[in-house]
Symmetry: C2
Subunit: 440 residues, 2 copies
């Protein structure tokens, strides 16, 4: 029934929006993760969605990236944030004299990227970041904290995951030993693709970059090393005497020791973890959701040398982890993960007759004062329609209020799932619903 | 030490950003309000920050309001939302066949208005909205729910407030009786200013709009009626026989009855509540923070005839309440409201010596697994510096770990505020810190 009078209500393509039932589940996930961040002493930050373009595009020297949403209003040239890291660096640079270091902050917020929308990719989506920033220096135990944080987040979400850990200095050191530092970024790009291309292709690509076949084979062998730390260490000990290589190994050992002490169980040391090719300088890690068959990356992070390099001379090394929460939620929504979860929009419907409606309102307030999600179903007029509505909305409990109940103050609570009925005082009604909640 | 190499880190003017300690307090306020919304069976919605300009500017016929942040990317003309109501109407219009009505939704989110920044006004700020949308009709008890919701929110926040309630049909009906409907908007503008201008000025302004002096005086007398509902009703009974007037009175009575049944204590009936002059059509209310001297508006809302008028033929009446949470927080920050509130960023610092640091990490994990916010203070190297850091950061408890403690598994917990020391097992440490938390 379209009509020239009316504007078609539509949402921007690629912008995420959930229906209320899904939104409840998503919010519960965010709350769980936020709880873990808090227990781990990370502080909340909520930076503006808009920043000066000059600040946001500092990395790119002020050029607008095609993906960035940019707008000019009056004299002000602004962009919507495309990640939470640049706003963090701006904040830390501005407030470096007011903050305690190591500064541990988390931020859960929406970011904007004008990519072509595709499966699992959005233009507006949530990022869920925790970072630890040091002043001049930051011990490796901070990197271990991030790995621990992953494990605790996923444990709290009841998800089976592994965190794969490496240190980029190991590969970088070996590349240095091969005297190929000038093409190290290109080499990292090849190594990052190892699980997508054949061994032959990889060797020929490395060949083009000037590596001999034995060098390429050794490098690939190194990159494919994966297992517990002791195994890796055994294999690496005699692999190279390059300083950077040995530094990477020693840093990895520090992380391995610290996470062991902290009881991390699901860490795998895996030198194929590379994470892009510029930003991270030491420890790198990626979290994978374990399925029976597949293993899907749902977050990553690592150590960077200097958070605030664009803004100040002071050296601020940091380490951070991120959970791709929009993507993760999207995956879980398609699985049976949420099938047992109750959203409990309404826990108890108060079903009244015309003459008991006013009394019903007094009970409504008393139940809500007792923290029960109660409704009077006032849009349905008759008793019969109220019962139908409670059924249709799958409200678990109905409280039936006739004249007798008004007089006796003993109410009939009906469990709509089992059809059981209970005669209870209002206090007992509240207690029953609450105890029921605990069982879920 | 500015330098051409560096970009000055700066935040957009008028965009709100809190330091972590304040952010914790603000988040606690939002959590409290969200909890009340949930108990009252409102469902969460999280619409995109950007919308099609056509959709967002439907009200203004597509013209860009000067205040709106607008951007064009590729073929897409978009705006940042300036409130949460237009996105709600777009959402309801899109999903009207999937939602249960009355549809009760809350949204707490940032909105954007390019106003000149001034005291207490921001360009990016939070809105905190709860609305109830009916399908074709919506009983007045929904309006009462919104008033009840205010009281519960402010009760939970431990704030003294009043909600002032009116129904615009009462004044509109009287204006109709005076045969001045053609200038009713202008009259409302004058009446809305009554507490800012003198009686004489008001009368002369109304005079210019064609009202005689006795008419003006009567209208002002009507507008100034304020008190409990019974008083208002007594005064209004014989004031006018106009249908709209009587309908307004009868609707107000329904709201008065329902909130009385629901136990609302801080409602005041106050015909001077007008709330702009176009959008609201019936019940209107405003929440005021009560100080010893002043009374500051911190939210408002009311009944509107049709939420989705720009998008569809279907009539969707609604009623909504909003809390000006950014402004409220700003006020409270300047008062002593938060002086007793603990933010508890770190509850317990584990102070180790070099040789006990590894053991300290095992305790750190155990305390965090017990939901205690513990830190190892790994950036401070020596025992002495760790103690200094704990002091400077005002961490209440320190757990001192020497060789003896490693062997005996009995730890010294020191209360830094009282200097008391306790010899405890780790479990007892966790329990003591938790019980301490309960006392706050």
């Amino acid at each position: 029934m379209s009509n020239d009078k009316f504007i078609t209500p539509r949402k921007l393509n690629g912008f995420w929006e959930l229906m209320p039932k899904e939104q409840i589940l998503f919010s519960q996930m965010l709350d769980t993760i936020e709880g873990v961040f808090k227990t781990n002493c990370f502080l909340p930050l909520d930076t503006p969605v808009l920043e000066y373009s000059e600040v946001l595009l500092a990395k790119s020297g002020g050029d607008t990236d095609k993906e960035v949403y940019r707008l000019i209003k009056g004299d002000t040239d602004m962009c919507l944030r495309y990640d939470l890291t640049v706003p963090l660096s701006r904040f830390v640079a501005m407030h470096q004299n007011e903050l305690n270091f190591p500064f541990k902050r988390y931020q859960i917020g929406k970011v904007y990227r004008g990519e072509r929308p595709q499966k699992g990719r959005f233009r507006e989506f949530y990022q869920c970041d925790a970072d630890i920033i040091g002043n001049e220096s930051l011990p490796m135990v901070a990197d271990a904290e991030c790995v621990y944080l992953y494990e605790k987040c996923f444990e709290a979400l009841n998800l089976k995951t592994n965190v794969h850990i490496s240190n980029r200095k190991i590969l970088a050191g070996y590349i240095e030993e091969l005297d190929k530092t000038n093409v190290s970024n290109d080499i990292f790009i090849v190594l990052d693709k190892l699980n997508k291309i054949s061994l032959e292709t990889a060797i020929s690509m490395l060949n083009e970059l000037g590596l001999t076949e034995p060098e390429s084979e050794n490098l690939i062998k190194l990159t494919k090393m994966c297992g517990n730390f002791e195994e890796i260490k055994q294999n690496l000990c005699n692999f190279s005497k390059n300083d950077l290589f040995l530094q990477g190994l020693s840093e990895l050992e520090e992380v391995a020791n610290a996470i062991k002490l902290m009881g991390v169980k699901n860490a795998i040391f895996d030198l194929s973890i590379i994470r892009g090719h510029n930003y991270y300088t030491g420890t790198v890690f990626e979290a994978f959701l374990k399925n029976e068959e597949t293993s899907i990356a749902i977050g990553g992070g690592g150590r960077y040398d200097n958070l605030c390099g664009y803004f100040s001379e002071k050296k601020m090394p940091g380490v951070g982890m991120s959970i791709g929460i929009t993507r993760l939620f999207d995956l879980l929504l398609k699985s049976d993960y949420f099938s047992q979860k109750q959203t409990n929009e309404v826990e108890c419907a108060i079903i009244t007759f015309d003459e008991t409606f006013d009394f019903g309102l007094t009970l409504l307030a008393q139940l809500r004062n007792n923290d029960i999600k109660a409704e009077c179903l006032y849009a349905s007029k008759s008793f019969k329609n109220k019962m139908k509505e409670a059924n249709r909305r799958q409200i678990k409990y109905v409280l039936i209020i006739g004249e007798d109940e008004v007089n006796s103050k003993i109410y009939t609570l009906k469990d709509m799932e089992t059809s059981e009925q209970f005669k209870l005082t209002l206090q007992e009604v509240a207690e029953k619903i609450k105890s029921d909640r605990m069982c879920n």
